[in-house]
């Protein structure tokens, strides 16, 4: 009978059954995988590896060495990571390529590889000029060293008899996301603590990638964060799906010679899918490349674009079934364009470094927040964001050349910096600007104060300290020159920062077509660069050459500086782009036709009224062509249209009407909301094939039956017939003259009809079918499309054709009312039987 486990289990709170509680499991599973992989490669059976090993246990204990390779216990000198770790690892090799160590600072392995590295203590040591002890200071929170009067003393209890650090004091690991986040961006892996914006130094401002774009790497659902987010209750998505799915930074940004992640060599023979030859694990551990895989945002020579892109892990052909023209979307859009639809955190919009707070912090303007925090001094957002409303922002889609060389629209944030530059073009740092504005005690210099103190109250307010006049400009410039800045000049620079984190799953990705396929859409919506620019200073574009910043910058009347991206000419987005000239011509032709018909119809109505009031209506041709109803005399019916003729006619009528309506919605999705953009496109494509098929069958029918002759104008008498017909519509119809053309089953069409249908069937219809097919097939035959100029040409032509079709339909429908009675022709096309006025029959007989 054991009484211990029962109590222990109760006390431990451990939640899995039947297992005694183990110690803090600090094992990096990945490390173990890597080691196990290596073990296999080395021929060591996996079973030999201790199942319960932790990273700390795997890494052998080691002595801390100083610069001369002597144990610090003996020398009491500062630890040299290069010597300490260099006992086993090739720290010369590592230092030679580690971009983290090339900034002049000594190599500090502990900072990234130690659980509980003390970055603050390290920074304090550097700040107090104690560079040599910086790495030692990193160990501050481990209990190995104690700070003592500006230097550090080692705790003997942290070392064993051989002088090695005891494992309980030091746990070596591969870098965690938290470690990366301490410099690069905002990382919050804890689910229990509501996420708040982390505190940073207001001037030096680490965590730049969060500041530049609002990217947050956290598995926490947004609605459980501590931020005051817009529509927070709805935001059950996580900050980043990769964090949610338990990926770490180093899963994508891996060591580039890690044999597990090694990319397939570019010199691989075509027949080889996998090249098993790679460095042994031991070799890798000795010389691990510290060039971490990265995208194209860092200019780093041959490792540029080493990082896996979305496609190396994800298969975009799965899960996008719902997306019409998926391939076309993939060709033109980066994954992030849809999968990073909105940023729900603040990001820099503008930095005004032309003035500074006494500590050198610039004035900043934030995107995605409302209230006082949108304008503040310095980069520390932790307090201001905690008490403000975070409305979030939509990234700006800009064409970006990706690692594979293709150009796609990718989400960016634009940050505009107003600053002083010297004659070399180098930005004047904030501390220098502060030195020009303030005296040693942080008080405004009187000469400068006089320039900005508009209300003369002896100090400047936040709103007053802003360069807006030439006097202020030259005043500050002179002050800067006095501090030693050569030729200070105002300058503005707009840099696009691409957004690659903050990714979300399909459920939260952009799915609404009209986010892009609408007149004013994400494709070219203007973005505010700065709420107040500097007079006369227009931003120039900076950043890497991969992102194209084609577009226009304008200084609006409200004082805001806005940028409107201009999509590349080859980008033609249905529903968004339209040729204005074509639409004007089209609309005018339809309106003109309607106007003409209106006048014509009105004249007919007036004429008919007059006739009937004159009492002369009741015989002969009087009513013919008028609007007065049934004709006089005994009417006789003629079977004019066979069932099939009526079928193909009405099918074509319904289908073309459907195409016009859906086409209108596709062309102006913001104005016409009928089926919804997606359904409109799909059904337009389907019914278009009905039209084509119906036209083909009808053509076959007409050729086979010989009815085609109905459409063919006869050479003799054609012009006379046409002139008679025109004359009739212009004059005769009002005078009650008989219809000049005598319609009968053998000759149903007058000369005007024949020539119109010839034009429509031989020109307009083929044009619409051709352009329509090419637009429909844009994804399948993109090369064929480009021969014709791509969608940018095909779209407007198709639209023009549609306008002309609409104009034709209006005329066509109106002319059906010119029969013996206004409805006679329609009735004939419905029933097949056309009523002929008695007089006509008489002449016919």
């Amino acid at each position: 009978m054991t009484k211990i486990t029962f109590r222990d289990a109760l006390a431990s709170g451990h939640r899995a059954l039947g297992q005694p509680v183990s110690g803090a499991a600090a094992l990096r599973h990945r490390t173990l995988v890597q080691l196990a992989f290596g073990a296999l490669a080395l021929g060591v059976p996996l079973a030999l590896w201790p199942a319960a090993a932790t990273a700390g246990e795997l890494h052998p204990s080691f002595p801390l060495l100083d610069e001369s390779g002597v144990s610090v216990l003996e020398s009491a000198n500062a630890v040299s990571p290069a010597r300490t770790c260099g006992t086993c690892h090739d720290t010369n090799y590592i230092a030679s390529q580690d971009s983290h160590a090339t900034s002049g600072a000594a190599l500090d392995c502990f900072l990234c590889h130690l659980a509980g590295a003390d970055d603050d203590a390290r920074k304090d040591a550097i700040a107090s000029g104690n560079q040599r002890w910086a790495a030692t200071a990193t160990l501050s929170s481990t209990g190995i060293v104690r700070a003592e009067d500006g230097t550090y003393a080692y705790s003997p209890e942290a070392f064993d008899a051989q002088g090695n650090v005891r494992r309980s004091f030091l746990s070596v690991q591969d870098p965690t996301s938290d470690a990366c986040g301490s410099c690069h961006g905002t990382v919050e892996l804890d689910l229990e603590t509501p996420f708040l914006w982390p505190e940073v130094d207001p001037v030096t401002a680490p965590k730049w990638s969060s500041l530049q774009t609002g990217q947050v790497f956290s598995p926490q659902p947004m609605n459980e964060s501590g931020l005051n987010l817009r529509e927070k209750g709805r935001l059950t998505r996580t900050w980043d799906v990769h964090a949610e799915r338990r990926l770490d930074c180093v899963d994508c940004h891996y060591s580039t010679n890690n044999p597990i992640y090694r990319r397939v060599s570019s010199v691989r023979p075509d027949h080889l899918r996998f090249d098993a030859r790679r460095i042994e694990l031991g070799e890798y551990l000795r010389r691990p490349s510290h060039i971490l895989a990265h995208g194209v945002e860092v200019e780093a020579g041959d490792t540029e674009g080493t990082m896996r892109d979305c496609g190396t892990c994800h298969d975009s052909s799965v899960g996008h079934d719902w997306l019409p023209y998926a391939e076309r979307h993939f060709t033109h859009l980066s994954c992030a364009a849809c999968h990073v639809p909105d940023m729900h955190a603040p990001a820099l919009a503008a930095v005004d470094a032309t003035v500074a707070r006494a500590d050198g912090a610039p004035r900043i303007h934030l995107r995605g927040v409302e209230g006082p925090a949108a304008d503040q001094w310095g980069y520390d957002l932790s307090t201001s964001i905690a008490s403000t409303y975070v409305s979030g922002y939509q990234p700006t889609l800009l064409p970006r050349v990706e690692a594979d060389g293709t150009t796609r629209l990718a989400p960016h944030n634009l940050v505009t910096t107003y600053r002083w530059i010297d004659t070399n073009g180098a930005e004047v740092p904030g501390t220098t600007v502060a030195a020009a504005l303030y005296d040693g005690a942080g008080r405004p210099k009187p000469s400068i104060l006089a320039l900005f103190d508009a209300d003369g109250n002896g100090t400047w307010s936040d709103t007053e300290l802003r360069i807006s006049t030439d006097a202020q400009k030259s005043g500050v410039a002179n002050a800067l020159a006095a501090t030693g800045v050569a030729g200070p000049k105002l300058d503005a620079l707009t840099v696009p920062y691409s957004i690659t984190h903050g990714v979300t799953t399909g459920r939260w990705a952009l799915r609404d077509c009209k986010q892009c396929h609408e007149e004013n859409s994400r494709i070219d919506r203007a973005v505010v660069l700065a709420t107040s620019g500097l007079p006369g200073i227009d931003p120039t574009f900076g950043g890497d050459a991969r992102t194209s910043l084609a577009g226009t910058i304008r200084n609006d009347a409200d004082g805001q500086v806005r940028f409107s991206p201009e999509p590349r000419p080859e980008t033609y987005v249905l529903g968004k782009h339209a040729n204005v000239v074509v639409n004007r011509i089209g609309l005018l032709s339809v309106l003109g036709v309607i106007l003409g018909i209106g006048v014509h119809a009105l004249a007919r109505v007036i004429k008919t009224r007059m006739s009937s009031t004159n009492g002369t209506a009741a015989h002969g041709h009087e009513s013919h062509g008028g609007l007065a109803g049934s004709a006089g005399g005994a009417a006789k019916s003629v079977y004019m249209y066979s069932a099939y003729e009526r079928f193909w006619h009405w099918l074509q009528a319904a289908a073309i009407f459907f195409l016009l309506v859906t086409g209108l919605e596709i062309h102006f999705p913001g104005t016409f909301r009928i089926l919804g953009f997606e359904l409109a496109v799909r059904s337009h494509n389907i019914i278009a094939f009905v039209v084509v098929l119906n036209a083909a069958l009808a053509a076959f029918f007409h050729f086979a039956s010989g009815e085609i002759r109905q459409f063919l104008p006869e050479p003799q008498g054609f012009f006379r017939g046409a002139i008679l017909q025109i004359r009739y519509y212009l004059f005769g119809i009002f005078r009650g003259e008989p219809h000049p053309f005598e319609k009968n089953p053998n000759q149903k069409m007058n000369a005007l009809q024949q020539v119109t249908y010839l034009a429509i069937l031989n020109l307009l219809l083929p044009l619409q079918i051709g352009t329509g097919l090419l637009i429909w097939g844009a994804q399948r035959w993109s090369t064929v499309d480009s021969v014709f100029g791509g969608l940018g040409v095909l779209g407007p032509i198709h639209a023009l054709g549609a306008w002309l079709f609409a104009a034709f339909l209006v005329v066509h429908m109106y002319l059906t009312t010119t029969g013996p009675t206004p409805t006679a022709y329609v009735k004939a096309m419905v029933t097949g039987w056309e009523e002929e006025p008695a007089t006509h029959l008489a002449t016919e007989n």
Binding site: M1, K3, R15, G18, R245, A643, A654, N694, G832
Partner: protein, 485 residues
């Protein structure tokens, strides 16, 4: 001629078809059928007003039952076939025992109040009948069926010792109010199992009478009542628990209403083969009321001054009540072993009264959340069996605080051998959690399990390590699959 005249109707039809049919058949089909649980909820029958039918007055419970049976002739016979009446189930096989057993509250031992036997009057206030106060209760008497305990809508009906209506209950008012079972009628017993609110289950307590969404999404958000899931036919209700049932016939399951893999996210659906819905969707229970996780009988009988009755009672011993209980997880195939009266206790470690069956290699097993109730209860040091004390009634433990006497009295009723030497041993009882389903936003997140300090102990569950890194389980091929080859 006539046919020609009306040919336009045919043409209209054909034109319509030529437009509509391509649209219908060419537009991409609907997404695979979305989860639509509402379709499965049985319709609620309209309530019949019984006020005129049952004018009363009724002198006692059986009088009400007689009135009910005048119209609902088969109702009593139906009830008498169910476990609500018999307190025992269909014959089943039990691990380590020959033959079959009809298991139920009637004859099993737990680690709360231990056993119904010898303690009938105290326990049977939750029996759907009248007057079960000893072993001689007549289970064939239809008049003794208590209709009101499940059908009362007046909210005034209550039962007392032996299952008789409590004093002062207006039987006529209760009878006239009758309708289908409500949260209150079911909860009257099931929310208060173990002798008080929330004590026994952890996922069933009186907060479910009218819960907010975050306590129970089914009852709080969409307003379900118990019988919407516990479908009932002829008074036989779906739903079992391994506290008394070792098989899983007639079980309620999420997939009764939901698709087996209803998530949009394929990654989450992939979990469904190895993880029960409940595991993620019930991250914790006892959200409003504390539930009992530990009951130590060995401390009973002491006169402790000012003891918190939630921590100590002289008649029962020491307790630990836990709020926001985080479940424990193990493999579970829906069935369990069962400690039967007279079984030997475990040779080492706690004696598990109902060990869930299942293991990582079993394709039908999934990781399930459990409340584990740990107890310390009385056993026979010589015969190595759990003992049943008589607690209620004259001379019982709660009367005299004399274990020896209570055990002798208990043994005389149960027939368990008692040597006279008793002690206390640890026991564990598993309560699968399936109520208090959280809104989907509150379901477990990936990293709550898949991280270094995640809530699942992968090794204990039989994995080599976190399956994200080490891969999923390898299941044994089922016999059927092998035969099918």
């Amino acid at each position: 001629m006539n046919a020609r005249k009306h040919s336009w109707i045919g043409i209209l039809f054909l034109v319509g078809a030529a437009i509509a049919l391509p649209l219908l058949f060419m537009t991409p089909g609907e997404k695979p059928k979305a989860d639509n649980p509402w379709e499965k909820i049985p319709p609620h029958r309209p309530q019949t007003n019984h006020a005129a039918l049952l004018p009363g007055p009724f002198e006692d419970g059986p009088a009400v039952t007689r009135a009910c049976l005048e119209c609902h002739e088969d109702a009593a016979f139906e009830v008498m076939a169910t476990a609500h009446w018999t307190w025992e189930g269909e014959p089943v096989r039990v691990d380590g025992h020959p033959g079959t057993y009809k298991l139920g509250k009637k004859n099993l031992i737990n680690n709360f109040c231990i056993s119904v036997q010898s303690n009938w009057p105290g326990c049977t206030s939750c029996h759907a009948g009248y007057g079960w106060k000893d072993e001689n209760f007549d289970f064939s008497n239809t008049e003794l069926v208590d209709c009101l305990v499940c059908h009362d809508h007046s909210g005034t009906y209550a039962k007392s010792k032996g299952g008789l209506p409590a004093e002062g209950v207006d039987l006529a008012a209760a009878a006239q109010s009758v309708g289908g079972p409500t949260r209150e009628t079911c909860g009257g017993c099931h929310f208060k199992g173990g002798g008080g609110d929330a004590v026994k289950h952890g996922d069933l307590d009186t907060s479910l009478m009218n819960p907010p969404e975050r306590v129970d999404v089914h009852m709080g958000k969409v307003g379900l009542v118990c019988v919407d899931c516990h479908w009932t036919e002829k008074h036989e209700m779906k739903g079992r628990s391994i506290s008394v049932s070792v098989d899983d016939r007639n079980q309620v399951s999420c997939s009764d209403c939901h698709l087996p893999k209803p998530h949009e996210d394929e990654r989450i659906n992939l979990h469904a083969d190895a993880v029960a819905c409940q595991t993620c969707h019930i991250p914790e229970v006892a959200l409003r009321e504390r539930t009992k996780v530990h009951w130590d009988w060995s401390k009973a009988g002491e006169d402790r001054e000012n003891a918190d009755p939630h921590e100590y009672l002289k008649i029962k011993g020491e307790f630990i009540m836990q709020a926001n209980l985080e479940p424990e997880y193990t493999w579970f195939d829906g069935t369990a072993s069962r400690y039967l009266m007279g079984d030997k206790i475990a040779e080492s470690g706690p004696t598990v009264l109902n060990q869930p069956h299942g293991d990582i290699g079993d394709p039908s097993s999934k990781i399930w959340p459990f409340k584990v109730h740990r107890g310390k209860q009385v056993y026979d040091e010589v015969y190595k069996t759990l003992l049943v004390p008589q607690t209620v009634g004259e001379g019982g433990y709660w009367d005299k605080f004399d274990w020896d006497q209570a055990l002798r009295m208990g043994s005389s009723k149960t027939g368990l051998a008692y040597s006279g030497d008793y002690g206390f041993i640890e026991t564990e009882m598993f309560w699968p959690l399936t109520h208090m389903v959280a809104p989907k936003e509150s379901a477990l997140q990936c990293t709550q399990c898949h991280s270094e300090d995640g809530i699942l102990d992968w090794k204990a569950l039989g994995y080599e390590g976190d399956p994200i890194d080490w891969g999923g389980r390898k299941v044994r091929q089922s016999a059927a699959a092998v035969e099918g080859r």
